[in-house]
């Protein structure tokens, strides 16, 4: 069977596109880095791909707010293209800035009746950008990307990653639908949901680190799985030894395996 084709979307200021494409290729896919302008010119090129990944970076400088301008471009010009892509049973992954873009464009979470967003990502409680490693656990969900994964150890690197729902009701709905797919966790998994800085690096409500859409085929997450694919990416490999591969590989492999 032909290798699944992955479109890694590039916009001005995207900066994790190369290593993210590399991770998909390592997982057995064929990855192409495509500039947003090419898709705006010819939205139908999306049809040739099975996976869309919006990688990390600072799209349009994160000016105004993180991911906002790219999200607004997608919303205005590519709404139908994205809907068709999802409806065709394909996969969408947003990492860090990509997660911010997906949630702010409305692709990830259905809007409420008044057209407002049910949740957002905003400034870290620390008020600044931070790069640190976090422990993650998965919720029982239908998310394709997280199949067979219970725990992950990955780095976060962002300033605006605090998950905030617009209401308690929305939070409940997302939780009961299994959409709060990924949560920050204490190192030893203890605390029963009582997770504080720095284990919860940004103050996310419910320790939410990633969410999926209602189909389980769209995932957005703040941590960077592409930064933990090689055994030497682990911050303590010189103490703990080299594992066969980094935790993040499983996410990319799940995406590719979905089509084989």
């Amino acid at each position: 069977m032909a290798k699944p084709r992955v479109l890694v979307l590039r916009a001005p200021g995207t900066n994790c596109d190369r290593e993210t494409a590399f991770a998909f290729e390592l997982a057995g896919g064929t990855a192409e880095r495509v500039h947003i302008n090419r898709i705006l010119e010819r939205p139908d090129i999306m049809e040739g791909f099975q996976v869309l990944c919006v990688p990390g970076g600072f799209s349009y400088g994160d000016d105004v707010a993180a991911g906002r301008i790219l999200a607004s471009q997608i919303r205005r010009h590519l709404w139908q293209t994205m809907a068709d892509f999802k409806d065709a049973g394909k996969l969408i992954l947003g990492i860090c800035n990509g997660f911010q873009v997906l949630i702010k464009s409305g692709i990830l979470l259905d809007e409420q009746q008044d057209q407002s967003a049910p949740a957002t990502l905003t400034w870290n409680d620390s008020g600044r950008y931070e790069d640190r490693w976090v422990h993650l656990s998965t919720d029982d969900s239908t998310c394709v990307f997280l199949r067979g994964i219970e725990q992950l150890y990955l780095p976060v690197a962002h300033a605006e990653g605090k998950f905030v729902p617009s209401s308690e009701d929305n939070m409940q709905q997302l939780a009961s639908a299994g959409q709060l797919a990924l949560r920050y966790e204490n190192a030893n998994g203890t605390g029963n949901g009582d997770v504080h800085f720095p284990a919860n690096p940004n103050g996310s409500v419910g320790n939410v680190a990633g969410i999926c859409d209602s189909t389980g085929r769209v995932l957005g997450l703040m941590p960077h799985p592409e930064r933990h694919i090689d055994p030497t990416h682990h911050p303590r490999w010189t103490r703990e030894g080299l594992k066969p591969e980094g935790d993040g590989m499983a996410i990319f492999r799940n995406a590719i395996d979905f089509f084989s």
Partner: protein, 919 residues
């Protein structure tokens, strides 16, 4: 209005966490917070200062089909029941920076947002043929040319021969090209040097010391020479593997950072990234390194001279400036250091460096006649005028007012877009040469590229941010994020289309021609016509005297030390230079690009101080790059020769400690010095350069690039009205770029397992001069550490062998604070105790030196009991002392023959180390 409200909700606000207020300028509800009598303050950027958010918002609104001409951002503050005096003080000290921002009290009344005015061309000539010497000097100062009298006289006699006065553009071109910043005329000049060893006359000091060392090493290496291009291009190039070379450059951006720390550091890192991009046919940046020197952040506010920003504000601004630019560029910042000394008060130092990787066949450039001169990236504005000449001037308390134009804010995304198309165009082979537009703007960039040919430029073609710039302003503007290419005509269309496809502006502004002349036109009228040879070779040599007299050596005042050694150890761990820099490091993305191998923070809790960072620049390869640095300004107060030698040793041993091959390390020099017209100040610099030569040749470690920043002094009037000058300590940064064959062999500095043995490798001497023990205790005197390449080289090779053979579990270099600090850091980074007995050292040098001396070329190594015999055998002939073992009792204890010198819990030591900069 409804449309604006919709736009505000959809584009400008996040309605989950924010609300919008829409109104027309002047409407009352915009000024009130809640109808109270609070005082409203607006802070907005001065007209023409880069505002990236406004630029992006403008484009996004246009994408909304919104009819909008211009956007500005501003901040509003409301004060309730606060005295006007306090508000004014807060505005000037905290909320706004006068060099880029303006404060408006009360309601805002803007007439217009757009900038620009019409410009009527008229050719300006400067009548200098008849000027007296005094008038020439006056012209040089007032015109911000900062040329010396001899240089002005040279220009005067040259134009007398021509029979015409120069145009302002011609004079400016010479001032830029001949500036200290662009030509390094002092250090590359004639220097008569005298020290205790006698006299030495240099024709070109840099060439005869630092460059000469590299030339000799290359000659010795012969066929094994791994240098590719040194001291020629915008950055040095050395061999990496069969397909790639690696490029390294470090620059300083001190004066702009003193006035506007955020913008200065921002454009500092932005500028140095363009160096590898502008080297050969363009290298892909793979990591950054940043080293800063500040006055202590607890300096009392009321002790600041006028015109000086508080060091805490400078530090926060510089760190966020580097963070916001480096992170947006997607380049990991993996290495750095911070140094503190009161003498950096008015003149902080900001060193920014960048490493790039380049295909071997793209390492050289060649402009040809007929190629187009093309500029791409940012537009040209009135920003940064006279940055090159200003950087050579001494800072004064008035600098803030006269040099506002030299201070800028960067726009990282413009540079990121430029980088994306540059790398694509390079791989498609669309241009023949490239260089960055840095200091001096087009005048330097185009002038350099056309140096061996000739060039004709039509200045009105350069895209402008706003109208009203004169032809000379266009020529010398240092607006950021621009690069100049030489594009053969057959590739122009493809080059242009590529840029356009990613929203990057590319414009032809001239042609390279085989004329040997620099010709500038504006709307068809010639505004400059200079002989390239005169521009680049006409500057009269600078002739300087340099004197060095060693201060007398006095014994270290050991009687100043009271209490047990643990008190001094915790004091050193808590001193600013040694204390944890986690607050800074975490704000930098140090893992983007996916090649991180050893992070700046290591250990059981990911928070110990690593010696050097390791990255894999090519994701399909196991080969790694190692980046580290060395700097010891305190030693320079005693002897700059040993300071320089020690800085090289420190940079190398940091590299070696993680696994770099000592025979494949390239180094860079960055001199930041005081006023070098003073013979004594220049003397300390020449002395440091002599050490660079001696040590580099002996270690076979080539210098591949370097840069100097002179006249780092700050003058002000004290309360009595007397002029005071603070000169920075002589500060040499050595940056090292090492290589490892297989990154899986690297080791980190954190202790790994109880029961392992710990050795000191290298010899401790009675060298407490300039030490951190002296710094924290106030004890002066002592001998400054020497460096012996005859011991250092075999030691480094042995450590490298030990690491490659897997004999070393952890390795840490001994530097600030000596053995005691290194042991404490290894222990708390690994979360394991350490029980040492230093009798083997103290019987030779005494207990204080054994613990705290900062002698060079030393390491602490952790070795498993099984490997002890093999390790000792490998180290034969090299000073080696077994000191003790790793234990699991959570404590560092150091004895001499069973008598306790210190014992402290790891928590106490770590807290002392983390507390000072836990901001």
């Amino acid at each position: 209005r409804e449309e604006v409200e919709q736009l505000a909700r959809e584009l400008l606000a996040d309605t989950v966490v924010e609300r919008t207020v829409v109104g027309e300028l002047g409407e009352e509800h915009l000024n009130r917070l809640s109808g109270d009598n609070s005082q409203l303050v607006h802070v907005l950027l001065k007209p023409g200062v880069m505002d990236p958010v406004a630029e992006s918002a403008l484009q996004a609104m246009q994408d909304y089909d919104f009819d909008v001409d211009s956007v500005r951002t501003l901040r509003k503050y409301w004060f309730e029941d606060v005295d006007q005096e306090v508000i004014d003080q807060l505005c000037s000290q905290v909320l706004a920076n006068d060099s880029i921002e303006q404060v408006v009290l009360g309601p805002l009344n803007l007439e217009q947002l757009e900038l620009g005015a019409s410009y009527d061309f008229s050719l300006q000539t400067v009548p200098i043929r008849e000027l007296t010497d005094e008038q020439l000097e006056q012209l040089s100062q007032q015109g911000q040319l900062y040329l010396t009298l001899v240089e002005m006289q040279t220009i005067q006699s040259s134009v007398r021969e021509l029979g015409r006065d120069p145009t302002d553009a011609e004079l400016e071109t010479l001032a830029q090209t001949w500036s200290e910043h662009c030509s390094h005329k002092t250090l590359a000049g004639r220097i008569a040097y005298r020290d205790e060893n006698g006299e030495r006359n240099f024709e070109n000091m840099l060439k005869e010391t630092i460059f000469a060392a590299t030339q000799e090493i290359r000659k010795q290496l012969g066929e094994e020479d791994w240098c590719v291009s040194v001291f020629e291009d915008n950055a040095g190039i050395v061999r990496f593997d069969d397909k790639y070379n690696v490029v390294f450059k470090v620059e300083t951006h001190n004066h702009p950072s003193a006035l506007e720390p955020y913008g200065g550091a921002n454009t500092g890192i932005g500028g140095v990234i363009r160096d590898p991009l502008g080297t050969g046919l363009g290298a892909k940046p793979v990591c950054n390194t940043d080293v800063f020197c500040f006055a202590p952040p607890d300096t009392p506010l009321d002790s600041l001279p006028a015109g000086v920003l508080h060091p805490r504000r400078v530090m926060k601004g510089v760190v966020s400036g580097v963070r916001d630019y480096g992170n947006r560029m997607g380049i990991p910042t993996v290495n750095g250091a911070l140094y503190f000394d009161p003498r950096y008060l008015g003149n902080p130092l900001v060193y920014c460096g960048n490493v790039g990787i380049i295909p071997r066949e793209k390492s050289f450039k060649q402009t040809s006649p007929g190629d187009w001169v093309v500029t791409i990236g940012g537009r040209t504005g009135r920003d940064g005028i006279h940055g090159a000449t200003f950087s050579s001037a001494e800072l004064t308390s008035e600098s803030e007012t006269i040099s506002g134009g030299a201070v800028q804010i960067g726009n990282a995304i413009t540079e990121k877009m430029l980088m994306d198309v540059l790398l694509e165009a390079r791989d498609r082979g669309l241009y023949s040469a490239v260089t960055d537009c840095g200091a001096g703007g087009f005048s330097s960039a185009v002038g350099e590229m056309g140096e061996h040919l000739g060039v004709e430029v039509d200045l009105e073609k350069a895209p402008l941010k706003y109208s009203g710039l004169s032809y000379t302003e266009i020529w010398i503007s240092e607006a950021q994020e621009r690069m100049v290419f030489s594009v053969p005509d057959e590739h122009w269309e493809e080059f242009f289309e590529l840029c356009k496809s990613e929203g990057v502006e590319a414009t032809i502004i001239g042609t390279f021609v085989d004329s040997g002349r620099l010709v500038l036109r504006y709307m068809g009228q010639q505004v400059a016509d200079l002989d390239m040879q005169f521009v680049h070779g006409g500057r009269p040599p600078v002739i300087r005297e340099a004197l060095y007299e060693a201060p007398p050596e006095t014994p270290f005042q050991e009687d100043q030390l009271q209490g047990d050694a643990g008190i001094w150890l915790t004091a050193i761990l808590g001193s600013l230079n040694v204390a944890s820099k986690e607050w800074v490091i975490r704000q930098y993305d140090h893992e983007v690009q996916g090649g991180s191998v050893l992070k700046p923070l290591v250990g059981v809790n990911n928070d110990g101080p690593g010696d050097a960072a390791v990255v894999r620049p090519i994701l399909t390869s196991r080969r790694g790059l190692v980046v580290s640095c060395g700097m010891n300004p305190y030693y320079g107060d005693l002897d700059t020769y040993h300071m320089a030698a020690s800085a090289i040793d420190e940079a190398l041993r940091n590299c070696v400690a993680v696994g770099a091959d000592p025979e494949r390390i390239a180094i860079l020099d960055n001199f930041c010095w005081g006023y070098t017209d003073r013979a004594e100040t220049l003397g300390t610099l020449v002395r440091a350069a002599l050490a660079c030569y001696d040590v580099a040749t002996a270690m076979r470690t080539p210098f591949i690039s370097g840069k100097d920043s002179l006249n780092n002094e700050f003058s002000y009037q004290d309360q009595e009205g007397d002029r005071q000058t603070i000169s920075i300590p002589s500060t040499l940064l050595i940056s090292a770029l090492g290589q490892v064959d297989d990154v899986a062999t690297c080791v980190s500095m954190d202790l790994k397992a109880a029961g392992n043995l710990v050795y000191q490798v290298g010899q401790t001497h009675d060298e407490l001069g300039g030490s951190h023990l002296g710094l924290v205790s106030g004890a002066s005197g002592g001998r400054v550490p020497r460096m012996d390449p005859g011991i250092a080289l075999p030691t480094f090779k042995a450590i490298h062998q030990g690491i490659c053979q897997g004999l070393i579990r952890s390795c840490h270099d001994l530097s600030e604070g000596g053995l005691a600090v290194a042991a404490a850091e290894m222990a708390f980074a690994g979360g394991l105790g350490l029980r040492l007995d230093v009798a083997g050292l103290s019987e030779q040098v005494g207990e204080v030196a054994a613990l705290f001396a900062e002698s060079n070329s030393r390491f602490l190594c952790e070795v498993t009991a099984d490997n002890a015999a093999a390790f000792e055998e490998l180290l034969e002939g090299i000073p080696l002392t077994r000191l003790g073992e790793v234990v699991d009792d959570g404590q560092l204890s150091i004895d001499v023959e069973g008598r306790q010198l210190l014992a402290r819990s790891l928590e106490e030591l770590k807290e002392a180390w983390q507390q000072p900069l836990r901001w």
